[in-house]
Amino acid sequence: MSPAPIGAPLPEPSLPPRKRFSDLRSVRWRIDLGILPSSPSASIEDLRRVTADSRRRYASLRRRLLIDPHLPKDGSRSPDIAMDNPLSQNPDSTWGRFFRNAELDRMVNQDLTRLYPEDDSYLQSPSCQAMLRRILLLWCLRRPEYGYRQGMHELLAPLVYVLHADLDHLSQVQKLYENCFKDEFDGISFSESDLVSNSGFTKITNWDTVTDKDSDFHESTLTVSSLDDLDPNARDIFLLSDAYGAEGELGVVLSERFIEHDAYCMFDGLMNGAHGVVAMADFFSPSPAIGSSTGLPPIIEASSALYHLLSIVDSSLHSHLVELGVEPQYFALRWLRVLFGREFSLDDLLVIWDELFSFPNGTCIDNDAEYNFKILSSPRGAFIAAMAVSVLLHLRSSLLATEHATSCLQRLLNFPKNVDINKLIEKARSLQVLALDSNVSSSSSPRSFNRNKLVIGRDYSLPTGSASPKTPLYPLPDSYWEEKWRVLHKAEPLLKGNNDHTVSGRTIKKALVQRFGLSRTESDPSPTKPGSEKKVSRSSVRRRLLDDLSRDMNLEADHGKSECEEVPGIANNKESVSVEEDAAQDFPEEPADKNTIGRTSDCMAEEACLSGENSSVFSTATSPHSMGNDHDNDSEKSSVTSNSFVGDNDEEMIHGEECCNHCDDNQPVQDPETTSSTTIKPETDVSLKQVAVSREQRPLSGKFQWFWKFGRGSGEGNVEKGGHEDLQRSPAAGNVNKDVLGSSASDGCCNSCGVGKKKDLGEKKVMGTLKNLGQSMLENIQVIEAVFQQDRGQPGSQENLTNNILGGKGQVTAMTALKELRKISNILCEM
């Protein structure tokens, strides 16, 4: 029945305190939180006495503080009814206090109803809610200087849950050792003679009979001799839950009746820190702690300690966060106040708290020694900070990929649920040692101390962080750039792999484009084809594209500048040629419209080049480095373009109109695209780690302006002649328009790329802008593709088949532009 007997006596000094109540979490926590004596020599009796004392204290507190205005106080009715009436304005009156309590009660209740609504039914049960409410209320009344703050209930709930869980455990053990726990006291005391009992627990029953407060000595000896048969854990449980031990019923350490009392004591211990360093209540108070050197509220100080630790462990992540302007308290406030209760599920949380509470809370630094952060001066506080840092490190790669403070915070505050908690704790443990060391060493060596001070100053005097990126406050290690490269390369396959999933729509479109190209040569313009073929073609295209990309990247890496400058020219040529070819092909297919279309397509081809150049003016103008020569030339050309616009008659107007339509269409598309691009950040934005946000914004806004200008300019053309809208030609024109967009974008980017190359390759600033350009080109691509998608929706009926072909033509040309764009952007990113 019971495992092998253990010969050790009950008050076992050899057992380390950690192992003592290994399966009784609530008891262990109570010891860790300083409610029960922590010395390993403390006997069960001592535990029971201390427990009973704490419960008595709570009971008297409850009697004193919970007010019922109907009960006359102390038997003597207060005669002053003018003061003690419900409408009394006196805050000290019974009713005044009653109403204040009711107010507090309401506030607490609001939070309690939302406490772990999905996790556990016990915490939502009415009795438990009432208990939690009472505990919180009493604590707040006891400590009016803190009052109730949101989050306190989430600190309390796990404590109550643990107490409850241990009771479950107790009942299981009771079932297992039924004989031992059976309360035979009343029956046996009168008939000791027939105390036969079939089991080997005769002595235990015997002990039961003898147990009395008077015979302590007798009891202990008997206990030792008989309970040795039990395994030590069960024995502890038995002794803790025995109603006849020291203090009787009140001393039962695990008791259903006294959950409330125990939970209050634990909560109080947690909030006050039991005279240790980390008192959770401080985290809720807005005023600086007494004796704090920084004069900051404790929670802010703790979060800056967190950043300090992060800067030691992972300076690149730290500097990235600082540059984004992500203050530590933005997320650490939540993490620290509820001790990660929001980030992890309840079960994981208990494991974390196990570890957390197991570290002593007392300061491990001498009083006279100077230290930076109060929280880091105790092992427990250091573990809290270390845990937070390990969570940060867990999110490292995705955090580094963010480029806005908001998206960064989004990731920080939506911590993934399925995390290997043990790994996190393992890491935190190693970090904790580092944290403790750093806190001490920083005080001993003046040099590093200064550095730390600088860190703090930077955190707080320059909250944006990006204001001084060049000032060498941070001597970045050389390995940092290497690391960035590594991350970049690692992200590259990730990007490819993920594109298949996230942007599958894009690949479908490519497949369609290819199919249309094929169908034209076969002169079989059927719009629907089996899906399997689509898939095959899609994947082939995909693969080809990727091969292309990788080959090109290698090439570009080798050849560098000159190659890069050649590419755009080729692309341009190819593009215009393809446009003209397509137009020529369209001639026999469409005899009716051939003249007009031929003309338009010619115009478009011309215009594609011209306005491509034209637009490059815009893009270069928006980019910080504009070349005077280019500007002059292009402005001439743009005037030519405008001439062609004016000189042409209706077709041009219609085209303008369509352009306008499409541009208008573009606008709504753009926004979701940009937002989606932010959501796909981890894949696409890896390259943008180091770039400041402000710099990023500028080209983007410039681009949008350009879009608007385009739309408006073409819109103006048809204001007078709004009315005849050629539905048949709309896709064609739209596609050509896209051509324009695509080619112009590529041209613009190539130009600026060349410009950038010429300027200075080594300069990081330029690199940043180039990366931005690559980024914006990627977004350009997305915009174009979005337009494709729109187009795909329109045609479908037989009469629109021709339009489909036209659309296909446009798409093919746009696709070439797209490919070039991709190549170039990848080159840029590579740089």
């Binding site: 009436n85 419900p86 409408l87």
Partner: protein
């Protein structure tokens, strides 16, 4: 625990400009769960003010009320008490306890709140309470001229109600308190049981008699048969 504010006969603006400032400062929103008003507010603004104290407002119609949709009487259940509300000008003689008790029985309520006399009154009567909160503004009435402003706050808790009376005398608020406990009436139970018992015994006696008669008759028949 429920706090119920009872007041009435404000006669704003005809006989009084407003509630006394001291009352106004005491009546703050958030404390009171129900307001019952006997009537004669008389204008809508007062109704709105009372609504601002507590959204759950019950008003009956006084003879000067502009609003005509207030009911003549109203009953509501608060906790374990049934509360009846009526202005009281309909009940003659005005303020007569017996007449009010009649209304109390009619409405079948534990607490009856009426107004109209502008004089605070509270009676314990026939296991119930009859309360007149007086005039909250101290408006004169056709019966009396010197009226102290007064209202009533009832603290209903389980089977117990504590009536706090707030009266403004010479510029000072005087508070009085009347305790009242509702008793579960045992005699009502016996009333229900006793007729049952009697009818049962009657019925039993009746059947017993019939049986005896039958037996006698049968015996007599048998005897006569034997004789024949």
């Amino acid at each position: 625990m429920v706090l119920v504010l009872a007041l009435g006969d404000l006669h704003i603006p005809h006989r009084a400009p407003d509630l006394p400032a001291k009352f106004k400062s005491m009546l703050v929103p958030g404390k009171i769960q129900h307001t019952i008003c006997t009537g004669n507010l008389c204008i809508k603004e007062v109704h709105d003010y009372l609504k601002s104290l507590c959204p759950d407002l019950h008003v009956t119609r006084g003879e000067y009320d502009e609003e005509s949709h207030y009911p003549e009487t109203e009953t509501l259940t608060i906790g374990q008490f049934k509360v009846g509300l009526c202005h009281g000008h309909q009940i003659i003689p005005w303020g007569d306890l017996d007449s009010l008790a009649m209304l109390q029985r009619q409405l079948d309520v534990d607490i009856l709140v009426t107004g109209h006399t502008h004089q605070f009154k509270a009676y314990k009567h026939e296991g119930g309470v009859v309360v007149n909160p007086g005039s909250a503004t101290g408006a004169y009435s056709s019966i009396t001229y010197d009226v102290n402003p007064s209202f009533v706050l009832m603290d209903i808790d389980g089977l117990r109600v504590v009536v706090y009376v707030y009266e403004l005398i010479d510029g000072e608020v005087k508070v009085d308190k009347i305790d009242f406990k509702k008793t579960t009436t045992p005699h009502a139970l016996t009333k229900i049981l006793s007729p049952n018992n009697s009818s049962e015994s009657e019925y039993f006696g009746h059947t017993f008699g019939v049986l005896c008669f039958l037996i006698i008759a049968v015996e007599w028949c048998l005897a006569s048969e034997q004789q024949s």
